[in-house]
């Protein structure tokens, strides 16, 4: 890895986290964490409790794709999305544990106050 890239790592890292920092994108990643899905399937899952239109969903999938978090492949008339790297599963699980403890600490403080 050249020096320029190494120096840019905090910026790239931040871009990567920014891509995760969006409710719908987070939801899509968690759905894909359970396995590959087509855009139609993603839309069906997401649309159960919120009103999301397909262009908006595709736009957010595009952000995830450009950030390197998901990859898309075409199968017939369907576009199938998967997580790009199995370590993303690890990342999501670890962030969940960290957040749970952060929220538990707040909960305990609330109780004690």
């Amino acid at each position: 890895m050249n020096r320029r890239v190494t120096r840019d790592l905090p910026r790239l890292n931040a871009e990567f986290f920014k891509a995760l920092g969006h409710p719908l994108r987070m939801r899509l990643l968690e759905l894909l964490n359970d396995g590959a899905r087509s855009v139609t399937e993603l839309l069906d899952h997401v649309d159960v409790d919120v009103d999301v239109e397909q262009p908006y969903l595709s736009q957010q999938l595009g952000v995830l794709r450009r950030a390197g978090l998901v990859v898309a492949r075409r199968e017939g008339s369907h576009v199938i999305y998967t997580l790009s790297d199995e370590r993303i599963t690890e990342l999501l699980a670890l962030s969940r544990r960290i957040q749970l403890d952060m929220i538990t600490a707040i909960h305990d403080e609330l109780h004690a106050s």
Binding site: G21, R27, Q99
Partner: protein, 135 residues
């Protein structure tokens, strides 16, 4: 002192996903990633961080305050100095995983660029390539 409020995302997911996303949104700033890396070896004063970041004092304290408010950092005062430290060391593990994912993507990208430049410049007859340095 408070950082400018980030633009409200559309109500496009149940609240739990907003909470999860907020965590990453907090990390989604180069200066914050650098602050966390600077705190890897233990607590540091605000002045120390400011010097290392090459940021003005209000910029530095905005980031520190935002991360403390969300429970990522904690601080203590000692005399005239305020020391900051990371509350949960698993944050470093999280940064490490993200960095690994990024690094392999960059390596793939540069290998691809290597292939492209071979196509462009070695348009000749030698299909057997030498070992490519792993970027």
């Amino acid at each position: 002192m408070t950082p400018p409020p980030a633009r409200e995302p559309r109500a496009d997911a149940p609240p739990i996903y907003r909470i999860k996303a907020d965590f990453f949104r907090l990390l989604g700033h180069p200066a914050r990633v650098r602050i966390l890396e600077l705190l890897r070896d233990g607590e540091r004063t605000v002045g120390d961080l400011q010097a290392a970041l090459n940021l003005d004092s209000s910029g530095t304290s905005q980031h520190l305050t935002a991360m403390r408010r969300q429970g990522l950092l904690e601080s203590r005062r000692a005399g005239t100095s305020v020391y900051y430290r990371v509350k949960d060391p698993r944050i470093f593990q999280l940064l490490e995983i993200a960095k690994q994912i990024l690094t392999s993507q960059l390596q793939e990208a540069s290998a691809l660029l290597g292939d492209l430049s071979e196509l462009t410049f070695d348009s000749g007859s030698a299909p057997d390539r030498g070992p490519r340095s792993a970027a």
